[in-house]
């Protein structure tokens, strides 16, 4: 910790300057919250209210009808079955992808740091590069490959894609987390005769719990929020929620039910927002690690 008075020496301007800083910070917070407030307010209005008021006016007749409409009846393309099915799709896609990619990443990170074999750094570099490619470069071959494997437009197909392109990230997390763990621990266990996977389950997994949290949060947020893979490899009933949301907003004919759109926005955002609110510290850690700072 360093001294606080970088900006302010004591004296005449002190109080005024501190007040200015607080006002500025709170104003900025207002700007950041503005879209959330607007979306929430709109989602609780009926359509007359949406058209009659402004985006910041309070609902005159607060209603949860737009939320029910979004969940049960919103039209995605020609089918008006609401977002519930797509929400389930996203869950069915995200949960297995997160579990499998995190598990693979943890084993990779463990093998690359604690059993330093020749070429471990080269292997890491090769894997890491996968975290930074623009996905445009793999879309066409992946679409063909999923077709050949018979999993095009299916949840298992999407899971496969997310696991494959999640491995570089999860490996990065665990590798950078475990690189600072002294190898003596694992070496001692090896001398005692424990094998690779035994040491992993007994020693590495308990030690790496914080890293598991970071990896799970990062993967869940990224996979839940993905658009490009879902849009490219699925259509119709198999779509994840983000694609369905975009379709809901763009397929309304006639009068646009903005209140339903905004309820749909919140429904889509809610899972990752909850994760962020509950585990923000780990979320930030993943963000930092994802920027390749070990």
């Amino acid at each position: 910790m360093r001294d606080d008075e970088i900006v302010l020496a004591r004296g005449a301007g002190h109080l005024a300057a501190r007040a200015f800083i607080y006002v500025a910070l709170i104003f900025i917070a207002g700007v950041y919250l503005f879209p959330l407030v607007v979306v929430l307010l709109t989602s609780f209005k009926d359509l007359d209210d949406v058209r009659g008021g402004s985006i910041l006016s309070l609902p005159i007749r607060p209603t949860i009808a737009p939320w029910l409409e979004a969940w049960n009846n919103a039209c995605v393309g020609l089918r008006c079955t609401g977002l519930s099915g797509f929400f389930v799709n996203s869950l069915a896609m995200a949960v297995p992808s997160v579990v499998v990619s995190t598990l693979i990443g943890s084993i990779n990170g463990y093998a690359l740091t604690q059993w330093r074999f020749r070429g471990a750094d080269a292997v890491f570099a090769l894997l890491l590069f996968g975290a930074f490619i623009p996905y445009q470069i793999v879309l066409i071959p992946m679409a063909r490959t999923l077709g050949v494997l018979g999993v095009a437009n299916t949840i298992p197909g999407l899971i496969l894609v997310h696991v494959v392109y999640g491995i570089p990230f999860t490996t990065l997390f665990f590798r950078n987390f475990l690189i600072s763990l002294p190898v003596e621990l694992v070496n001692a266990a090896r001398v005692d005769g424990a094998g690779f996977f035994r040491i992993f389950w007994r020693i590495l997994v308990p030690i790496s719990i914080p890293c598991f949290v970071v990896s799970v949060i990062w993967q869940f947020t990224n996979i839940w929020n993905d658009y490009i893979f879902g849009a490219t490899f699925t259509s119709g009933d198999g779509m994840p929620l983000t694609i369905a949301l975009n379709n809901v907003v763009n397929t309304s004919t006639g009068v646009k039910p903005y209140n339903v759109h905004m309820a749909s926005v919140i429904i889509t955002a809610l899972p990752t927002l909850l994760v962020y609110i509950v585990a923000g510290r780990y979320f930030l850690r993943g963000l930092m690690a994802g920027s390749v700072k070990g």
């Binding site: 020496a9 402004s54 074999f117 570099a125 879309l139 690189i179 907003v249």
Partner: protein, 315 residues
């Protein structure tokens, strides 16, 4: 006691070597390599293999289906003579330039303000960072509503009393690209703030104290001492934001869908539209290769120095 157990281990190892022979032993020694082998194989195919595959399609005659007949640089010629690709490329400079510089300026400003022993820092940080938890589709859809010319901000300001206020950037081909900047900066500047805040917390307090004793004012201290020390953070933020800008896709899809009149196309949306919308797989692949090359030119030197640095510091 200790010696005894080690002796025992050696004994059992020798025994097992005798009893089970080569394969078992080889497996035991190679387990770590075998454990990473599947990942390496998957990435070899799905990253490096697919890269080459797309590269090959970009020099083939592929249109709606892959057609592996050699076409030389024909697809690249078609790409660069496509006026929409030109819009996309010039947009990426406008969007990228503004998105990156504004995110850095605003993020740095927020970090400096937050670094003054603010009581409610935790709450504020949570507020500044929450957009990072959202999908760009969510962000884009929300901002599309806010920027709606009839009912959004324009209407709000008019209700507040400025009757002739106009804010129609979303539907104005000349200005629509700036709406992408607004939403993009809103989403990413909190993250840049977090990067700079971490950087600021790492600055050596003694240097700052010494400068203050020499009579330097706060602005001078920031300009002469702290900001130069944050150069690595500037670099990190710049690389990450550039990387994000070049890949930008979802935000455009949700906010403007490339319109009005293709005025907000970016390379990533162009690639998608050509490949999956217009059945021009070869042109799409060529544009994907251009995007890829740009990212590689930015990321590879950065990753290289980063890994070298980690090797230097680590172990």
């Amino acid at each position: 006691m200790t010696t005894f157990s080690i002796d025992q281990v050696e004994e059992t190892e020798q025994q097992s070597r005798h009893l089970e022979g080569g394969l078992r032993n080889w497996l035991a020694i190679r387990t770590p390599q075998l454990a990473v082998a599947p990942s390496l194989a998957i990435v070899a195919v799905a990253v490096y293999g697919f890269m080459l595959w797309t590269g090959y399609i970009s020099v083939s005659k592929s249109t709606i289906l892959p057609n592996y007949e050699w076409a030389g640089l024909q697809q690249y010629q078609r790409l660069w003579s496509n006026p929409i690709w030109f819009i996309a490329v010039s947009n990426i400079f406008v969007f990228g330039g503004l998105f990156i510089s504004l995110s850095i300026i605003i993020g740095l400003g927020m970090a400096i303000l937050l670094d003054q022993r603010i009581r409610i820092e935790g709450v504020l940080r949570t507020i500044y960072l929450y957009p990072m938890a959202l999908s760009f589709i969510v962000t884009g859809t929300a901002w599309k509503w806010i920027l709606n010319p009839g009912l959004g901000i324009e209407h709000l300001v008019r209700v507040w009393g400025w009757d002739s206020f106009r804010f129609d950037w979303l539907v104005n081909p000349q200005f629509a690209v700036y709406t992408l900047v607004i939403a993009g900066v809103w989403q990413s500047s909190g993250f840049v703030m977090a990067l700079f805040l971490a950087g600021l917390r790492g600055v050596d307090g003694e240097m700052v104290k010494a400068a203050r004793l020499d009579g330097a004012g706060p602005i001078q201290i920031y300009r002469r001492i702290i900001l130069p020390l944050l150069m690595p953070t500037f670099l990190t933020a710049g690389v990450i934001l550039t990387h994000q800008a070049v890949k930008s896709f979802d935000l455009v899809v949700a906010l403007t869908a490339g319109g009005p009149a293709n005025s907000t196309q970016l390379p990533a949306t162009f690639m998608y539209a050509q490949t999956f919308g217009r059945d021009q797989m070869g042109v799409g692949a060529a544009s994907a290769v251009m995007i890829f090359m740009t990212v590689v030119a930015i990321i590879v030197p950065y990753l290289y120095t980063d890994i070298r640095r980690m090797q230097h510091e680590g172990r």
